[in-house]
Symmetry: C2
Subunit: 153 residues, 2 copies
Amino acid sequence: MLLSKSCVYGLRAALFLATRKDGEYTPIKGMSEKLEISFHFLTKILQQLTAEGILKSYKGPNGGVKLTKPGHEVTLMDIVLAIDGPKLLTECALGLPGCGLKNPCPLHDKWAETRDSIRDMLENTSLTDLVRKGIEENLRLTDDGDFEDLLRI
Amino acid sequence: MLLSKSCVYGLRAALFLATRKDGEYTPIKGMSEKLEISFHFLTKILQQLTAEGILKSYKGPNGGVKLTKPGHEVTLMDIVLAIDGPKLLTECALGLPGCGLKNPCPLHDKWAETRDSIRDMLENTSLTDLVRKGIEENLRLTDDGDFEDLLRI
DNA sequence: TTATTTTAAGACAAAAGACTCTGTAATTAG
DNA sequence: CTAATTACAGAGTCTTTTGTCTTAAAATAA
Ligand code: SF4
Ligand code: SF4
């Protein structure tokens, strides 16, 4: 897999948070139930995002987490970097030793192209982009629910 | 990582075999030393390739493994499919549940493009292509050796 | 035949990734 | 103040991947 499972879960959660009203803290428990992700595991992942400054958290009743910035200012790349780190952009698909720009194999150019295409996609897509499209086309974040569901909570 | 480590090792070994003379069996032991891959681990990987018909093997003195077909008829995709299976081509990068062609997220088109580009690259590159380029531009298959080395053995 | 060289097969071990559990600290409501 | 609710922290478990080891089977050579 291109992205780790943690990373995909983090993306799902971030999308979920982008559907909530600004300023409101959303408890992780409810999120984990809606998204069908283990509560403790999701907690751990969101702690990373909090540590990276992508989320703000608040303890106690009415506490939870929320996006630090509005959804249209958060790109998928922000989440991926926070959870999986930069290896996606730096590592080569084949990973033949001793090669690279100075000494490329025949795949190098094509792979650089592919990698750039992935990077562009992640950098140029914001959470809000996905939420909007999700609502328009009824994309699900879970197996059974839909976006309408999420907005109604 | 896009490809598993086993798969990368398999590709390295297949490239190595594509440098050898047709018809000669190459012992895995020597290969593992040249490529700096654990002998037993490499054996296991090459057994898969043998089971898939990509390699032929022969036991006993002067035995070893060799490519079933000439190097220019073996694509990188052949190796990848044999070791990592088709999930690279079927799985989505994000893996959001419940979506797909019928119900695409905004990434779907771009991702399909990316995936096609990876597939084309793997399908249209033969072992011989890489070996030729490797010789021309002195690509290494190991940290210290070079292609000249391999050809001299 | 006997010793040697080689792959085949499968059990075993270590490391990494994915997930769980238990307890603690902060915050609020009553 | 007390009890409830929430995130935080870290240890612990399960699974998959990666890698090691041992033994068997096939082939050859002497
Ligand atoms: S030359 Fe480039 S594409 Fe080819 S193996 Fe090296 S880093 Fe990867
Ligand atoms: S719509 Fe396509 S690209 Fe988007 S998450 Fe689903 S399968 Fe992946």
